[in-house]
Symmetry: C2
Subunit: 346 residues, 2 copies
DNA sequence: TAGCCTCTAGACAACGTTGTCAAAAGCGTT
DNA sequence: AACGCTTTTGACAACGTTGTCTAGAGGCTA
């Protein structure tokens, strides 16, 4: 093969470069670059020759080199808590769609709710020079991001606010949603209501607790210390918390669960009890209408949160300068039955 | 500031490079590289000076440049059908974990079940020179990947086999699972069983259909053409298909649903009917035990599929040469009630 | 003290692309 | 036939890192 002699042969594991294509087509390097990028100023005839060489050699532009040269990577990073959590699926997908519409790829990873791992992941993404970051924070101190932001990496936080730095953030109205949920239970006659939520260091957990307390206070109801349980969302912990609230002479007659994992466990507990227990869960889930009783929930619009966050990110990337924004996405109470069980039935 | 004069000042949006660090620390470029990468042959004193400069300037290695130089990107691509589909959550997460344990990042995207979009996404990942790809194929012709594979990009297909190329693939035992499911219904007395599955161009849909037909044939049961409906998994389509099977003088007495989206709709339909209908679904889902009746399913181990696929990928990346493998992950029938309803009750 | 060896350090090229600039070619006008 | 203009083309440097190679410093032995 003449190519071998010319030095444009392909060894296994070695890819042809623009130089190879140029040699093959008998044109200059830059001309190949122009063809590959659809830049003007190339004769149809030359273009054809280059295209031919590209096809024969199986050339594909090396974006690593392009990125190095251009400075922009056309990729954004998404750091969330757990890729397997159904709550993040629609959010993930929404961010991807927006990225795609801007021609960017999505690099993502799970922090597993571990601040150290979050930081490690975020900095790895920064080293890759992603153009921007969408972060569902696990930690509560993000000052480590300051040099990165100063260097131009746009950053938007979702679901929970950033810690100790000023950045865009998109939140659900946790406080309002929780307050509405608890007020709903109170309206149906409950006076002793338990709250099982996520770890206290998680912002949304505290906001939902605040909503709970506010609704109780507004109704003039006292809150017994034993009615509030914050901590891990592991089923055993949730079971233990629920058992504690349901024991004793004055058990709670209704439960407000702070997120979808807690809710699922709570539904299981309900199913095992002889008599129903009123329940409202924060965050909707598939089939919530099919279990019996159907579960009343405070629904968050995860897809909208993702879209909003990614939209904000690309606004920044498009160079729009404005002070950091805080966007709150409203929640919606969906009544299905479990929240409307009166205390007498419990 | 002396730095300005020296040319090592930081402008907004410009990051310090190793050159800047070197100038600041008064050492050579390569020495900085050695410190950054923990290579030996640097005096403790020199190392300290370099570290100091790194911290002051807020330097972070540019991995784009590193990748260009080294040829490996330490990242793998994952292309799946829909990031928001709960079935892919655990798979996604499992792949991520394996990637992480190998020090690689995960770039992913949804094909939305569109072959053209799959190809576009895959080729974009190849242009980024990911080290390997895990693909849940939407298309049925993957010859476009040949040059990429020849160039050394490792590729593993999951859930469905590759089309017209020879590559590693990790599958569920769709045939066996379906056969077992239908045999289970037959064992409970059903003779007219409907199958609602995914589009015929999807490999798993056909395999499950084959399992269905085999089980029926093995029991000596005829299959009426109207009992089989392949197509979109949109709720309306599934409803229409079910309605057709349940109409007429000889309606089906049991339903076998070909994937979890179909199952969810089928559960809804069941709930709306005055009398129960036997149902077995392919693919487990959260709360399948809590709806009533609880749903009997053929469970796939998505996490194991992801782990296996990623494991295979990294084996290839570690240079292990062997002919393409086809791994089949067994399924498991989980009986919960809906599959054990006898035909008389229907 | 000369000779040799080891260890630290830096100069330089290379990875594959794109931006800049200048040369060459084509064409119409005078 | 000479000039100027536009269009096409390619040479070259640069992006920020790492691998190779060599120089210099320092210590040890003969």
């Amino acid at each position: 093969m003449t190519d071998t002699a010319r030095g444009t042969a392909r060894r296994y594991g070695t890819r042809p470069t623009m130089k190879d294509v140029a040699a093959r087509a008998g044109v200059g390097l830059k001309t190949v670059s122009r063809v590959v990028n659809g830049e003007p100023g190339v004769t149809p005839d030359t273009e054809r020759r280059v295209q031919e060489a590209i096809t024969t050699l199986g050339f594909r532009r090396n974006d690593s080199a392009r990125i190095l040269r251009k400075g922009r990577t056309a990729s954004i990073g998404l750091v969330l808590e757990d890729l397997a959590d159904p709550f993040y699926g629609p959010l993930n997908r929404a961010v991807e769609e927006v990225a795609r519409s801007h021609g960017a790829l999505l690099i993502n990873g799970s922090s597993a709710e571990d601040p150290a791992r979050e930081q490690e992941l975020v900095l790895a993404l920064c080293a890759r020079r992603v153009d921007g970051l969408v972060i569902i924070p696990a930690g509560d101190d993000h000052r480590y991001l300051e040099p990165e932001i100063a260097a131009g990496i746009a950053t938007v936080f979702v679901d929970r606010p950033a810690g100790r730095i000023d950045a865009d953030v998109v939140l659900s109205d946790s406080f309002g949603g929780a307050r509405e949920a608890v007020a709903h239970l109170i309206a149906h006659g409950h006076r002793r209501i338990g709250f099982i939520g996520d770890q206290p260091r998680i912002h949304t957990a505290m906001e939902r607790l605040r909503g709970y307390r506010t609704a109780m206070a507004e109704a003039g109801l006292p809150v017994d210390a034993s009615w509030v349980a914050l901590g891990s969302t592991a089923p055993e912990r949730v079971r233990a918390a629920a058992a504690a609230m349901l024991a004793g002479p004055e058990p709670v007659t209704a439960l407000f669960s702070g997120n979808n994992r807690v809710t699922v466990t709570a539904v299981r507990i309900l199913g095992e009890r002889p008599r129903p227990l009123a329940l409202v869960g924060f965050d909707d889930f598939e089939l919530a209408d099919l279990v019996s009783p159907a579960i009343t929930v405070v629904a968050q619009d995860a897809a909208r949160m993702g879209r909003t966050a990614a939209g904000l990110l690309f606004r920044r990337l498009d160079g729009i300068e404005e002070p950091p924004r805080r966007v709150e996405i409203p929640t919606r109470l969906i009544t299905r039955g479990s929240g409307e069980i009166p205390p007498e039935d419990v």
